[in-house]
Amino acid sequence: MLLRYAARRLLAAIPVLLGVTIITFLILRLTSGGFVPGLELNPSLRTEDVDRIRHNLGLDAPLPLQYLTWLAGLLHGDFGRSLTDGQPVLDHILERLPNTVELTLTAVVLAVLIAIPLGVAGALRRGTIVDHLTTALSVAGVAVPAFWLGLLLILVFSVSFHAWGLPWLPSGGAFDPADEGDVGARLLHLVMPATVLAFGYLAVWSRYTRSSMLEVLAQDYVRTALAKGMSGRRMVAVHALRNAVAPLITLIGLELPTLVGGAAVVEIVFGWPGIGQLALERALDHDYTTLMGLATFTGIAVVAGNLVADVLYAVVDPRIRL
């Protein structure tokens, strides 16, 4: 049963993946019009040369044919080659992806470790100062622009601390240029971008924990446990916490691919060499094939993530398989 459900979800994902490739291709080709950086308006090239290069890149073929060629490559795991440096697009992505994953996961762990106690405290001490402070923090956390928070942190912890002779944090990049393998320096570089990213997640997830905790606390089994004389503390640890946090973990799992894409702005502010920073660099260089690959790659990750979450749901909740 479960296998059949998984197979059905997988089949349903195929048209979505095809749609992702079509939309990405159309948007890029229609906006760029097949522009090749460094080729057009280059006075040292004859028209014949330009035509030959465009022909070699396959840009003179009809659009549907170009799409099918690109799609055939994708099916073989070939994301094409970069228009600016001729390297395989996939190499560029895989070179940067670990950095993005490192940053996102650090932020996720950081946010979960703070959000759950905050949300639980807010729910247990409903209506008190603790609850109001938690609420205020989460409302502010959603509204503060990540790039602005990043700038302010740089201003304080890099610029001002440096000026005051205090130990300061590096303002950008992912490692010490003098020693790439220095783990301590790498962690120092990670502190600020991960904090900014975690602050945004934390705001949403602490609210989520608070409301699901309140829901669980209103359940009959909680009342039964308390009526049987279980201490409040033990009840929270045994019953409430587990039931309140499970949906949050599922939510995070479902959103993980989206989170990886959403880290782009923070990467750009801190010059963190992840795929978001790569997207900006390549966009400014008019390297469309790399951008097409990036958007498709992230799209596939989102669809795959949703698929895994769907199947996991079905494992946990048998009613869904019907």
């Binding site: 749609g19 890029l28 409302v139 700038l151 201003l155 702005v265 978001g276 966009a283």
Partner: protein, 286 residues
């Protein structure tokens, strides 16, 4: 119809009773009015132009001639903040209005007709929700020069899917109710059934989603301006003012603090108002 009028009236009362909601709503109106009246305030009251440079008066602190000081080209910061609000709030409201309309129409049609149309439209929504919106905006922004209106259309294009899904789910829950059946059995056309009977029952979803969406769009638009792929100079926006101030923020902290605070304040106000609207209009929260 009596019951439905009661719902709207009751919702309005609940909204007006919510003090935080009224305060944040007033703040949104104030920010909106300041943005709309920017040419009048800047031109007649401040007598400052957001674009005119004065290279003899750069990086001035707040003072009588420039209430909030000047930037690196000697432009008046207050006038630029006022004009910047036009872009941020304009894009925020316009793209949410567009996305709500498109998402609402698609969701209602898909839910009402069902079958193949529903399948095709919902797969399209799946596709749009799978593509990372920010990447799409980055790449389009790098190729074409966008202005506030085209940017709103782009944001609406990638943003209508979520509402279509919500609206469709809501339609499915009312489609087989007796009042729909009654309307159809007396010969009402599909269009009439949808507009008169389905839409009023779906509207609250759209209102709640829209009022919670504006803040997110303001943040997105400011981020795009900040990385240089949104609305570009010379048009002043809060996002591109921030990116301009980046190079000078060691000696002119105000140039970083002010535009960021305006973004923060607007998003905060629209989100709080959105929460109040949700509390008042969502029937499940009663």
């Amino acid at each position: 119809m009596r019951a439905s009028r009661g719902y709207w009236e009751e919702s309005w009362r609940r909204l007006l009773r919510n003090r935080a909601g009224v305060a944040s709503g007033a703040l949104v109106l104030l920010l909106g009015a300041a943005a709309l009246a920017a040419p009048v305030i800047a031109g007649l009251v401040l007598r400052q132009d957001p674009l005119s440079q004065d290279l003899h008066a750069t990086f001035q602190g707040p003072g009588p001639s420039h209430l909030l000081g000047t930037d690196n080209l000697g432009r008046d910061v207050l006038a630029r903040l006022l004009y910047g609000g036009r872009v941020s709030l304009g894009v925020g409201f316009l793209s949410v209005a567009l996305a709500t309309t498109v998402g609402g129409v698609v969701g209602v049609a898909a839910g009402y007709y069902g079958g193949t149309a529903d399948d095709v439209l919902m797969r399209l929504v799946d596709v749009l929700l799978a593509i990372p919106g920010l990447y799409l905006l980055i790449l389009v922004g790098a190729v074409v020069t966008v202005n506030a209106v085209t940017l709103s259309c782009l944001i609406a294009f990638i943003g209508w899917g979520a509402l279509a899904r919500l609206a469709r789910a809501e339609v499915l829950s009312v489609r087989h109710r007796d009042f729909v059946l009654a309307a159809r059995s007396i010969g009402a056309s599909d269009l009439r059934v949808m507009l008169r009977h389905i839409v009023p029952n779906v509207l609250h979803v759209a209102i709640v989603a829209a009022s919670l969406g504006v803040g997110a769009v303001i943040l997105l638009e400011a981020a795009l301006d900040f990385i240089g792929l949104g609305v570009a100079a010379p048009t002043p926006t809060w996002g591109n003012m921030l990116s301009g101030a980046q190079s000078f923020f060691t000696h002119s902290v105000w140039l970083v603090v002010l535009p960021g605070s305006m973004i923060f304040l607007s998003v905060l106000a629209t989100n709080l108002f959105g929460n109040a609207v949700r509390d008042a209009f969502d029937p499940r929260l009663r």
